[in-house]
């Protein structure tokens, strides 16, 4: 693994209710490139971990170092500027339903455009050109003026990914990006993320349920159980024994 980390998480803990930690003392480093999958049972804190990185959830203690800043200590403008460098893809796409595909893509530039100009849709031409190019890349050429709520799940997630890439992120977070999609579309979405990450040198951290999909796409797998990291290594080294530790029990493994 590369020493110059894109992201360092130090002793991160989160309690939604006092005395009931969801994340317990997590420390992880992420290289400036690569595809990391975080796996683990529901309710084990995967989503909380991802959201603590860009502070959609407030960590209880610990540090998150990104581009020379501890994100946990930032607030106001400094926090927003840090967030611009972190793209995020959501399980339920979280597109603004009543805006068009183009408007949703340009949402990725909202951290750079003044409110009045954004409201009047006066985005820099370079952003608009880039958005059209990205629509071609994600396979949605010609969809620019359709409203987001007219798209299928797979199409929506393509818009979600394009929106995140529009931010020119130095890190891409994805929270269960394929859990609402069918198996074929899931594979297409994962390939799209991996290819864009490789082409644009963006390290990617993805939460997921599907162990096989994680094995197929990730360079590194982090297994979580009850708020702790219980496995961290290459997908090839992930054994049934590891999976038992992560998910508990063994009856589900081989039917």
């Amino acid at each position: 693994m590369d020493n110059s980390a894109a992201l360092s998480i130090r002793n991160l803990s989160k309690e939604y209710k006092r005395g009931k930690p969801v994340l317990r003392d997590i420390s992880l480093d992420f290289a400036t490139r690569g595809f990391t999958a975080v796996i683990g049972p529901s309710g084990t804190g995967k989503s909380t971990l991802i959201r603590c990185i860009n502070r959609l959830v407030e960590p209880t203690s610990g540090a998150v170092e990104f581009q020379g800043h501890d994100l946990v200590k930032l607030s106001g403008r400094a926090l927003r500027e840090a967030r611009r460098g972190i793209g995020m893809v959501f399980q339920e796409y979280n597109l603004v339903e009543r805006l068009t595909v183009m408007e949703n893509l340009l949402t990725g530039r909202l951290g750079y455009v003044a409110p009045l100009k954004a409201w009047l849709r006066r985005f820099p031409q370079a952003d608009i050109d880039e958005a059209f190019d990205l629509l071609d890349v994600v396979g949605l050429a010609g969809f620019a003026n359709q409203r987001a709520d007219s798209l299928s799940g797979g199409q929506r997630q393509r818009v979600g990914i394009a929106r995140a890439v529009m931010q020119h992120p130095k890190l891409l977070l994805a929270d269960e990006p394929t859990s609402s999609l069918d198996p074929k579309t899931s594979v297409e979405i994962m390939s799209l993320m991996r290819d864009l990450g490789t082409a644009k040198n963006i390290p990617i951290i993805v939460n997921m349920h599907d162990v096989e999909l994680a094995r197929r796409f990730a360079d590194r797998i982090i297994g979580m159980s009850e708020g702790r990291v219980v496995y961290d290594g290459a997908p090839g080294a992930l054994t049934d024994e590891n999976l038992k530790t992560i998910y508990g029990g063994k009856d589900w493994l081989h039917p």
């Binding site: 860009n54 959609l56 403008r77 927003r80 500027e81 840090a82 967030r83 611009r84 460098g85 972190i86 793209g87 995020m88 959501f90 339920e92 979280n94 597109l95 603004v96 339903e97 009543r98 805006l99 408007e103 949402t107 990725g108 530039r109 909202l110 951290g111 455009v113 409110p115 954004a118 409201w119 359709q146 409203r147 709520d149 007219s150 979600g160 929106r163 931010q167």
Partner: protein
């Protein structure tokens, strides 16, 4: 709880039953108190028939007064709606508890509650006393009413939006105003147009009434005609008001069609 009790599919709600009984009892009591009897109603009907007979045929001979009153009513309604909508936008936003901290929502909700506490006619009386007779008082009174109505509904609409969409816009590092214009407003725009056109409609009706207390519009002439028993002129004015309200309704439908056309096509 024992096993038998746990298997009752639709447990009776004794509080609700008691409430219904209480309501029924109060209605009977209130009717008896107000001498609400059939005999009285029949006497009233007789009076009503004579009153209606005197209303026809409607008398349009004093049409200048009628037109002047109507145009003033329209002016009051349109200006009050425009002002009220403009002011209630930020107030409604400030009152939304899912976006704003308590120290912002509390004063905003107080202001909305204050605007809603009095009927427009009572507010109009206050303004007539404060700034004098005429249309300005009517505009002020209906603006207050509009702020109360739209502000409250707008705040409630914002409180029902999907926060997932807002979360996604926040995650891009967008400043607060961009989160509002891209994450919040698109979700409530359609409903806001609905509230605004309904308020215009309601202001048109109210603007024909505030004149009764001297706050401008056709209401003053209507009240004077009533007092002089010019029932045929009253009838002419009532017919004109009905036409005005229908026209307003048509306009509101057109406005909704223009603004919401795109969403309707795509929702099918």
């Amino acid at each position: 709880m024992n096993a038998a009790a746990a298997r009752i599919a639709f447990p009776p709600n004794w509080w609700a039953r008691a409430g219904w009984l209480l309501l029924a009892a109060y209605i009977v009591y209130a009717c008896s108190l107000l001498d609400f009897t059939w005999a009285r109603f029949m006497v009233g009907l007789d009076n009503g028939a004579r009153f209606i007979a005197r209303m026809f045929p409607p008398n349009f001979s004093r049409w200048e007064i009628l037109v002047k009153g109507l145009t003033e009513s329209i002016e009051i309604a349109v200006l009050a709606s425009a002002l009220g909508i403009l002011i209630s936008l930020p107030i409604g936003l400030f009152a939304a508890r899912n976006l704003m901290p308590v120290w912002v929502t509390w004063p905003a909700r107080m202001l909305i509650a204050l605007c809603r506490s009095f009927h427009p006619v009572i507010v109009a009386i206050v303004f007539v006393k404060a700034i004098g007779f005429g249309a300005l008082s009517g505009i002020a009174a209906l603006t207050v009413a509009s702020i109360g109505f739209i502000g409250k509904l707008f705040a409630e609409a914002i409180e029902e939006i999907s926060l997932k969409q807002v979360e996604a816009v926040r995650a891009t590092g967008a400043p607060f105003m961009n989160v509002i214009t891209y994450g919040v407003l698109p979700q409530v725009f359609g409903r806001f147009i609905g509230f605004a056109t309904y308020q215009l409609d309601s202001n048109l009706r109210n603007s024909t009434m505030v004149g009764i207390v001297g706050a401008g519009g056709i209401g003053g002439a209507l009240f004077a005609a009533f007092q002089r028993f010019d029932y045929d002129f009253v009838c002419a004015m009532l017919l004109s008001i009905i036409i005005l309200i229908f026209a307003g309704e048509l306009l509101a439908t057109r406005v909704r069609a223009v603004f919401l056309e795109r969403s309707r096509v795509n929702e099918e």
